[in-house]
Amino acid sequence: MTAIDVKAPAKNKTASHWIWPVVALALFGFLLFLPGLQGALGYSPYLLIFSYTVFYWITQASSWNIFSGFSGYLNFGFAAFSAVGVYTTALMSQNGSVPILVPMVVGGILAAALAVVLGLILFLRGLAHEIFALVTFAITIGLALLVHNVKALGGPLLMVGAVEFPEWMGGLNQSLYLLALILCALTLLIAALVQRSSLGTGLAAIRDDEPVAETMGVPTLKYKLIALAISAALAGASGALNAVMVSFIEPEPTFGMELSVFVVLMALLGGTRHWAGPLFGALLIATLSDRLTGWGMSDLAQLITGAILVLIVLRLRAGLFDRIRHRRWVVVPVAVIVLLVLWLARIVDFIDALLYAQITALIVLLLPSSLFRRKEVQRG
């Protein structure tokens, strides 16, 4: 488990150098202008809300991954950071209207501050592995109880007041969509930059063997704190935006297990060693859970969520992205074709098509490697 990146054969490397960034940029541009094309494409307004949810989860899962995925410190109480953002918006909007960017920035800073304080306590005491996971879990429940009991911090129920969005973004749903999209792209960009920087290399070294990394001169405490602060700041900003979506703020769901567990699940499913892993994990889980809830089967969604967690541990330790990488010339076209055929032929609506495309891709990914021409590198 030491190799972080397995080099692709040379002929593919030159091609993939520019193809994937261009695809990503094109997709980002398309998504930016999607609300403007609303009328022309004739999709339902729910698509914007659904997209918002997907961006939200990608942001949360990717920001979790910046610290926990790269360093191997499994944070089981990540909801605390986004909750800081949620409560920042809620409390700031109590006395008159506030522009959304203010609580997003303030919430991010406050979440980062909380992360540094918690990080100093936990890291200086050398809490790691499962103890770290359980203590972060306990602290988050404690924070929820604290907020519940202290009126000044929010109390048992808080309503988000008036929040202003920038004029040019259009209506509420459209503004939420655009801000979430931009924040999501920013998070992925930061995650990619962190992974490629010495910070990312240092975190990977911490993950593989912290004492050795320390001996070899990696400033482990500093790196862990920086990564935790970055990931908390992004989660806080995303939470501040999400407060508008939730609007009735209660401590238990805000600090809740669901968020903490989903984030871990998405990142582990996608794969934690690469910044793009959580993107795919979050996309799949968010689509699946949206559809199952829409079909009135939220219990079934939970059952599947649990089964996926078990499956990851048993069969997918390296994550989906590891397999996507090795089969990208098969998986990506297959998924795109299924998506376009189902959607454009109006067989099902877009979100259903997205789900079926992902399930098809998943099946391709889970096929035994002997079916594929190129020899795969077995890892994990």
């Binding site: 499994l74 050398g126 592995h129 103890i131 429940i141 404690g142 109880l145 519940h148 649990g306």
Partner: protein
């Protein structure tokens, strides 16, 4: 409420905490399985108790005859699964969490999300109390306390005064060497699973008899269990019992003299303070926590 009554209440609550924490502590400390499904198993036992008495008209105490074997069976099944798949501690945390989510969902599908409770007509035990002057002691909780003490002391005796216990401790200390000396570590793991399963069975039945049940009720026990287990030392039955009573006392006093909402917060604050000052917990773990 008098101070004596408060102390009695705390003692009884401590019994329940010790029951739920013992199994968790044993599987974590001795089997290296961080078992979140523990709470799911307890919930299954609680719902079984509910069904047996509310639907089939059994006396709830008789349900113990079903829930204890059921708890043992579930715990042994999990242990078999973990041994078969060779999961490490970290992986068991994630896998058993998935299992907990699945159990919760299965219960929600079977019983719906409604809160359920055994009707008092079917459950004579819920209103039965012993009275000593002005101090009242609910019978069910007294039985739970008794069971907790028996299980904790029994486990301690098994671990520290018998040959089997010596073998278990040897297997924890150094598994390859223990195996080389002819200790069957896999079979011993099932002994520990049986102890954990029995405590889950009793705990589940007590919860079914005393509390209102819902599919998410299992999670409510997670924070206090973590606090008790981490304070009491992993796999240390006496430490678990003492930590359970200390935390129950702190919670009961908070509930009595401050605000009921703060009770759980006090436990978690104690946990965080202790972990920061003494990461190894208040009592000695049976083994070091290693990656």
């Amino acid at each position: 409420m008098t101070l004596v009554q408060t102390l009695v209440t705390a003692l009884l609550l401590g019994g329940i905490y010790a029951l739920v924490a013992l199994g968790f502590s044993l599987t974590w400390g001795l089997l290296r399985t961080l078992n979140f499904a523990h709470f799911g198993f307890a919930l299954v036992c609680a719902y079984v108790t509910y069904t047996l008495s509310a639907t089939l008209g059994w006396d709830p105490m008789l349900a113990l005859l079903v829930t204890i074997p059921l708890g043992i069976l579930l715990m042994m099944g999990l242990q078999w699964f973990v041994q078969k798949t060779k999961l490490d501690t970290f992986a068991t945390l994630i896998a058993t969490f998935g299992l907990l989510l699945m159990i919760e969902a299965a219960i929600a599908i079977t019983y719906s999300h409604d809160l359920v409770r055994i009707p008092t007509t079917e459950n004579p035990w819920s209103t039965m109390v012993l009275s000593f002057g002005r101090v009242t002691v609910p019978i069910v909780q007294l039985i739970a306390l008794f069971a907790a003490l028996v299980l904790c002391l029994g486990t301690w005796y098994l671990l520290h005064r018998t040959g089997t216990g010596l073998s278990i401790r040897a297997a924890i200390a150094d598994r390859p060497i223990a195996t080389a000396y002819g200790i069957d570590t896999q079979r011993l793991a099932y002994v520990v699973a049986i102890l954990g399963g029995a405590s889950v069975g009793v705990f589940g039945a007590v919860v079914g008899m005393t509390y209102t049940l819902s599919p998410t009720a299992g999670l409510a026990w997670v924070p206090i269990t973590l606090a008790v287990v981490l304070l009491g030392g992993l796999g240390n039955p006496l430490g678990t019992a003492i930590a359970a009573f200390v935390l129950a006392l702190a919670e009961t006093l908070t509930r009595q003299y401050a605000s009921p909402g703060l009770a759980q917060l006090v436990s978690l604050t104690i946990l965080v303070i202790v972990l920061v000052l003494r990461p190894q917990g208040l009592f000695k773990s049976i083994s070091e926590v290693k990656p």
